[in-house]
């Protein structure tokens, strides 16, 4: 990836993180930790990877995206505002009565391909979309993002079997491996490890990447492009709360909103990061 592209992505990811903080602060609830850990990934997908057009959100040939870990909708909403699907102002009414932006993704929101958030279900829908693409000989790809806690759901492995059986090589599932879930460390709650071995055993091509390094992200997806006859699982090593110092690696920030003071501090940190990226 050239330096200019990388810097642009970094800047956009920083704005996405600001959107996450803006949204959860105004909602007085929501899930900033896991939203921040996927902010770089979603920025890469929407700004460097996926064939999508905010002017034609229903285009039959577009790439599809399903946020299986739907509780991290603030990151998706923030990236959609950056992409121009709807105004950034919408983030301020996230989770409010009468607002467009629901607590978890809803298919009726522009740019959202599937309602999701009840964990384990998004990957099944993504399998259905990938199968439809195969049936219609379409070249679109389907991307889905799962939490590392989410994969404790049995349905994920039903879907994993299905995707491998039907050779859905147009499906890429990213597991956001930040190591934390609501009740604590994933290895202490009811461990889904070894994650890479499990997906490999289910017949997937498995790639690991650094979730916060765009070169690593690009390399992982480039490798995914070469895979034929198998679905691809990318296990991204991430930091929950990434980008906001006091949220990083803190399980308490899984599902809590910043107060006024914390909001100011988070925004000030992110503004500083953004300024550091300006030439």
């Amino acid at each position: 990836m050239d330096a200019k592209t990388k810097k642009e992505l970094q800047k956009t990811a920083c704005k996405v993180r600001m959107g996450v903080i803006e949204g959860t602060y105004n909602a007085k609830s929501g899930h900033p930790g896991g939203s921040l850990s996927i902010s770089d990934l979603l920025t890469y997908l929407y700004f460097d990877r996926m064939n999508v057009d905010p002017k034609a959100p229903e285009d039959a040939d577009r790439d599809r995206f399903v946020l299986s870990k739907g509780h991290t909708a603030p990151a998706l909403y923030a990236v959609l505002t950056q992409k121009g699907y709807f105004p950034e102002e919408e983030l301020k009414s996230l989770r409010h009565i009468g607002a467009m932006l629901q607590g978890h993704p809803c298919i009726h929101t522009p740019g959202i391909d599937m309602s999701s958030g009840s964990l384990g279900q998004g990957i099944s829908a993504a399998c259905g979309m990938a199968l439809a693409g195969k049936l219609d000989n379409k070249s679109y790809r389907v991307y889905t993002v799962l939490g590392d806690g989410e994969i404790e759901e049995g349905q994920v492995w039903e879907a994993a079997m299905f995707a491998a059986h039907y050779k859905l090589d147009n499906l890429i599932a990213v597991v956001d491996n930040n190591g934390l879930q609501i009740d604590g460390k994933i290895t202490e709650v009811c461990s889904p490890e070894p994650i890479t071995d499990k997906f490999a055993a289910f017949g997937w091509h498995v790639i690991t990447m650094d979730a916060h390094d765009f070169d690593s992200i690009e390399a992982a997806f480039a490798e995914a492009d070469t895979v034929k006859g198998k679905p691809v699982a990318i296990i991204q090593k991430s930091v929950k709360g990434k980008g906001v110092s006091f949220m990083e690696n803190q399980v308490s920030w899984h599902g809590a909103a910043p107060n006024k003071e914390q909001y100011e501090q988070a925004m000030s940190e992110l503004r500083a990061q953004l300024a550091g990226l300006e030439d």
Binding site: C106, M114, S124, C127, A132, G154, Q155, E158, F162
Partner: protein
């Protein structure tokens, strides 16, 4: 009775899918390792490229159906009612109902007439579960003709539909040449003034038999077939309530939450009359031949007659 043709509605389901495939190019069929029993095997044989076995994984099957529907396919997700409405309930609610996707659920082996397999497989709760999902259409056909018409109507309808089919061969009571099916419209099969018997599924035939017996005893019973439990034909039900008073409902389903409950909910608002429910009481079934079980649980013309007589006296 020797000339009565009997056929299980699951058979009608498989045949209808096969026969409609040419006309509906987006129709695809999913099953969860029960194609021989749900009769989607009939479709698979004719159109193998549009049939996808999901294995014994109903939750994923419902999600896959949702994804297919979001891309313009019309998937028929097929398995036993127990697993479609029971095991996969939350996936049906959140991945199909909430986004209001065009998924058709073909649920076979509904009710007590599953027979020998016993309580674990006798789903008497599916209508109750499915009708609580906003925007879900719930259809319970009574015979071969109605089942086939329901599949066609579901294909022409944009939105999620739950269709309930039986394992047991039941009499064909409708005439394929003249039968017209409309989602949400009840069918008055016989007029009467003393009582309305509102039936669904295989109890419709029993209701008709009961009405004949009642007539011989001087009781004029109206028989209404409610194939669509949601949306319920409230207009027709309320008209019956006003005209005949007493309503007796009959269904192969729990008396909690099914047709009887839906009818009672409607009449309490428009014309409160007594509604007496015949169905499976608040208990599990058990193993046995289907026909014997139906008798034992009171899902019979005999019990309808008895119930009508007992309640007309009150």
């Amino acid at each position: 009775m020797a000339d009565v043709i009997k056929k299980a509605t699951r058979e009608s389901y498989g045949e209808a899918l096969r026969d409609l495939a040419a006309e509906y190019k987006d129709l695809v069929v999913l099953d969860a390792d029960l194609a021989a029993a749900t009769k989607t095997g009939i479709f698979k044989k004719a159109h193998p490229e549009r049939f996808f076995d999901c294995g014994i994984a109903e939750a994923n099957m419902m999600g896959v159906a949702a994804g297919l529907a979001s891309c313009g396919k019309i998937p028929f997700a097929s398995t036993f009612a127990m697993f479609a409405a029971g095991r996969a309930y939350e996936i049906v609610r959140n991945s199909i109902g909430y986004p209001h996707l065009n998924v058709k659920i073909g649920a076979t082996h509904a009710g007590i007439s599953v027979g020998e397999d016993g309580a674990t497989h006798q789903c008497n709760e599916d209508i109750a579960l499915m009708r609580t999902i906003p925007g879900m259409t719930v259809i319970n056909p009574c015979d071969d003709v109605e089942a086939k018409a329901a599949v066609k109507a579901a294909l022409d309808f944009n939105g999620p539909v739950y269709m309930r089919f039986g394992r047991l061969a039941v009499p064909v009571i409708n005439d394929a040449a003249t039968y017209k099916f409309e989602i949400g419209k009840g069918v008055t099969l016989r007029d009467g003034k003393d009582v309305t018997i509102v039936a669904t599924g295989l109890l419709v035939n029993e209701a008709l038999e009961a009405a004949k017996v009642l007539e011989a005893d001087g009781i004029s019973a109206r028989v209404v077939n409610i194939h669509t439990i949601k949306p319920l034909d409230r207009e027709l039900i309320c008209k019956c309530a006003k005209e005949t008073g007493l309503i007796v409902t009959a269904e192969e389903h729990s008396i909690i939450g099914g047709l009887g409950s839906a009818v009672a909910e409607a009449v309490t608002e428009c014309c409160p009359v007594r509604v007496v429910k015949i169905g499976v009481n608040d208990e599990f079934g058990h193993s046995g031949p289907a026909v014997d079980l139906l008798k034992e649980f009171g899902l019979s013309a005999e019990n309808i007659v008895k119930t009508v007589k007992a309640n007309l006296k009150k």
